[in-house]
Assembly symmetry: C2
Homo-oligomer: 123 residues x 2
DNA sequence: GTCGTTGCAAAGCGTTTGCAGCCTA
DNA sequence: TAGGCTGCAAACGCTTTGCAACGAC
């Protein structure tokens, strides 16, 4: 059975309050404000469990370690700024995917990542 | 200046003849048919150079090491089968992305990955 | 002969795991 | 008090790097 520990609460809180996807080390850093002795292994173990429970979604970026965001938001995609490295959330999804599928293929999910320059960096 | 070695030729050939994205170990395996003594470090070094030259494109999959495919094909995306793990190439791109962008953002590129079941696995 | 390239082994990085002690229920 | 949870350190898988030998030009 699942127990309620200070570590688990701190990790959840870090992800909930971030408002953007966080890497494992960022989660550690933020959660250590609540639980100073927190270890990185515990962060990974809990993130893994949260992802399995679908309470957290991993966000993969080419050539970078994954980041994690709280689930439960509306379907959305991300925009990675090539200059500052920040990952932005975009609203909605205009993609019409079915015509791309070969005959007999079943679509379950999709991921879309845009890159370019964010408003701040394109000046 | 860039030299013409048997290793380099074998690695290029492996990627050119594969017809699908290959992982680093798959490249090693195939290229060793031409150059038995080939080492993994050489594969990584050459792939890195080819990617820098835009002769090869890395394909990132969530939770997996990257695969690589020869560049120069038309713009396309991929479909990952959840059952057999095979990565398929899809033709074309129906995505209309500009409306997703917040004001001031500049779009440079995008990546799209579909997943589901391929024709063989959905029976 | 020069110097880019190679194979090997060691190091690096992010992540996972084994283990003994801890602490929630 | 049982057994899930934790911190630590060691192990892991993939990738990069240091180095001395090699070989293309």
């Amino acid at each position: 059975m699942q127990r309620d520990t200070a570590q688990r609460r701190a990790i959840r809180r870090a992800l909930d309050e971030a408002g953007r996807p966080l890497g494992a080390l960022e989660v550690l850093e933020r959660a250590q404000r609540d639980v100073p002795g927190l270890g990185l292994a515990t962060v990974y173990r809990n993130i893994k469990a949260l992802v399995a429970d679908k309470a957290v979604t991993p966000v993969e970026l080419p050539g970078q370690p994954p980041r994690f965001e709280s689930a439960g938001k509306d379907h959305h995609h991300h925009f990675l700024c090539a200059a500052c490295g920040k990952l932005y959330e975009l609203d909605g999804c205009l993609v019409e995917l079915k015509p791309l599928l070969p005959r007999g293929f079943q679509l379950r999910a999709h991921e879309l990542l845009l890159h370019g320059l964010c408003a701040a960096c394109s000046k």
